[in-house]
């Protein structure tokens, strides 16, 4: 069965510092991988996605993620965090057969940015 693990429930970083949010998945084949952000009172917004090809994926708002098959990971990174990045971040996988039609989400990582 598919599963997604985000081991960090809450992360606090200083504005301007680098950021890495961890995501590990469990699935028999290479799934489709997504990172979403949920700002307070807002819906989920897609940051980036990986289906195939280059394992380093660039997304919006300066985020990137790297797919590492050997580690079953899809960690999200940003070199310099802005105060507006404070939000909840969700990693999700879509089974190869259904892609984004049936997403399995991690429990999320809440990011706090301090001045």
């Amino acid at each position: 069965a598919q599963s997604v693990t985000q081991p960090d429930i809450h992360i606090t970083v200083s504005e301007g510092a680098s950021l890495e949010l961890r995501c590990n998945y469990s699935y028999g084949a290479t799934p489709y991988l997504f990172w979403y952000v949920q700002s307070p009172g807002q819906g989920l917004q897609l940051l980036l996605k990986y289906f195939s090809g280059d394992t380093l994926v660039q997304g919006i708002k300066g985020f990137e993620a790297e797919f590492k098959r050997s580690q079953s990971s899809f960690n999200l990174r940003k070199p310099s965090v802005h105060w507006s990045d404070a939000a909840e971040y969700f990693c999700a996988v879509g089974p190869h057969q259904t892609g984004a039609n049936n997403l399995f989400f991690g429990t999320g990582t809440r990011l706090t940015v301090i001045p």
Binding site: Q42, G43, L44, K49, L103
Partner: protein, 116 residues
């Protein structure tokens, strides 16, 4: 892309009552999805709503508790029936962009439900 409008955005309901959540999409889509986000939990797919057929429910969710309507290709409703405090969650409507499965999922802003 797709723009999804959900109503209501939040509600506080008495236990034993029902609430119907509406989801309107600005384009025609074949499938619409309903997710639940319980406090401190991940999003969980409740069901997939297809126009012209019965919704398909995921394990642990039943039609009597979460009846779904899909009268046309741009609209769906989810009803949370006979509510209890355990139903307090955020409920989200989602659609997948055109182009098949290799596309992103779009989400509404969610309905924050509190059952007292």
């Amino acid at each position: 892309s797709a723009v999804i409008s959900q109503k209501p955005s939040r509600d506080i309901c008495q236990r034993g009552t029902s609430l119907t959540i509406q989801c309107q999409v600005d384009s025609q889509v074949t499938m619409m999805f309903w997710y639940r986000q319980q406090p401190g939990q991940s999003l969980t797919l409740i069901a997939t709503a297809n126009q012209g057929s019965e919704a398909t429910y995921e394990s642990g969710f039943v039609i009597d508790k979460f009846p779904i309507s899909r009268p046309n290709l741009t609209f769906s409703t989810l009803t949370v029936s006979n509510m209890s405090p355990e139903d307090s969650s955020i409920y989200l409507c989602s659609v997948v962009g055109t182009g098949g499965k290799n596309t992103e999922a779009f989400f509404g802003q969610g309905t924050r439900l509190t059952v007292v």
